[in-house]
Symmetry: C2
Subunit: 269 residues, 2 copies
């Protein structure tokens, strides 16, 4: 079967237009058309104009509607005739919507190439000071317009039972510039706690709040929920980590790198 | 407390010298000294010489011995006097050895900064076509010189019981240019299966072998273990994924993007 055209999924990494890799930038420079989506993640410091200056290429912004409801038709049509780059925040195949687009390209016999970028997943794991192989399933805390979802609570519970850490991504609606903050997320979890009473997320539970991972001024703060509720994390994006069992090295990392209370040393298994 | 000097941990991302981010390269260019470690990961296509040409900076290679046995003394000493960059494969805080070094720097009142890079963790999740939030705990399959470790088998079992996917990183000894391949890893797991007889990794188990994630010619092949045992994956590095329960979109992704047998559609829950 003859392969027609090409889509290169290029990860923008984190924070701003400087997060892309050298190889990613080369792909942009040699592309016939460059599309960008900025709705699956919040890159508050990303400037389309600055990126156009760096790369010398005009960017076409694609919306959620274009990619999800219309299955990226316009982008795929362009890719049939040449080389298209789609710029994506973070690592490009982490959002399921891009896997779906890649699948559709493959069905249409369009070649696909992936240039990876730094992802919020490994960034938060690393910044937390916890060991990456001790993280269990991750979860997104959604906006709770009305009844809060029990899923994040259940995932934290399941991981804790296994001694594992939980990475919680906090929901964003980038197109509306809405993002869930750490205070709201903790309140949602405490509401579920009130109902379930399993002591999974209480005022005395240790958690780590992370703001602006990948930027030049990230905040990583470990403390009990009651303290984190009133901690000022500044600008988004935000993530939360609920630790499982702590190795002594992890406790030391939390104390020195995330300003955790020293009493943590007593919790080490 | 006065802060002395600075260490910037810069992720090299995947594959070669083009995996670093634009911001990472800027940090290198403005550093007083640049160190690089190439033992926590296998970057077969990385050329120190080419990186020196791109960045205009000479690189000092630090060994495992220097970082782990001597706790990075020489590097920390240099960092007391100015700005040091430590180049690290992948995302820089994923290897625990660098968390330890960061901790030590903090104790010595040396400022630390992190510039993230693409990690094998998010890259393999994305390339597999599986949904990232359905991955459980990840695990490294170690060299089995003598008695094989049961840990990877147990982790796959635990994840499967929860319907979750398992990412297996395969051990490397970069300094000896030794790396575990997919055939050997599967044989190790089959040996444990023979002993435990829990039908976790049998000849008929579906798995995904991934070679050279992040390079220009990665291979992603999903098939039954009996088929993968004899599949030619070419050059390293390698990873393995054991899927848990499959969503129909994941099965489609495996069929189209990882050349999985079409009979997979019957396994969808």
């Amino acid at each position: 079967m003859k392969v027609l055209g090409e889509i290169v999924f290029v990860g923008l990494g984190l924070n701003d237009e400087m997060g892309i890799s050298l190889r990613g930038l080369e792909e942009v420079k040699s592309a016939d058309s460059v599309f960008i989506e900025l709705y699956t993640s919040l890159m508050l410091n990303f400037s389309v104009k600055r990126f156009e200056e760096i790369s010398g290429k005009p960017l076409q912004i694609v919306s959620r509607k274009e990619l999800e409801e219309k299955n990226g038709e316009a982008l795929l049509e362009t890719a049939r005739k040449g080389k298209v780059v789609l710029l994506v925040p973070g690592d490009p195949l982490i959002a399921t919507t891009h896997i779906a687009l890649r699948l559709q390209a493959k069905r249409l016999r369009i070649k696909t190439v992936v240039v990876h970028g730094a992802s919020i997943i490994s960034a938060v794991m690393g910044l937390s000071g916890l060991h990456n192989y001790k993280f269990g399933k991750s979860v997104t805390v959604p906006f709770s317009d009305g009844i809060p979802s029990e899923t994040p609570y259940n995932v934290i519970e399941q991981n804790k039972k296994l001694g594992l850490h939980t990475l919680c991504l906090l929901d964003i609606k980038a197109e509306e510039k809405r993002y869930l903050n750490i205070h709201e997320s903790l309140c949602t979890l405490l509401k579920i706690e009130e109902k379930k009473k399993k002591k999974i997320v209480t005022m005395n539970t240790l958690a780590i709040g992370i703001a602006r991972a990948g930027s030049e001024n990230p905040i990583v703060k470990a403390d009990f929920v009651r303290k984190l509720l009133n901690y000022d994390f500044g600008e988004p994006p935000f993530s939360l980590v609920f630790p499982g069992e702590l190795h002594f090295m992890e406790a030391e990392a939390l104390i020195f790198l995330a300003d955790a209370p020293k009493s943590l040393r007593k919790c080490v298994k």
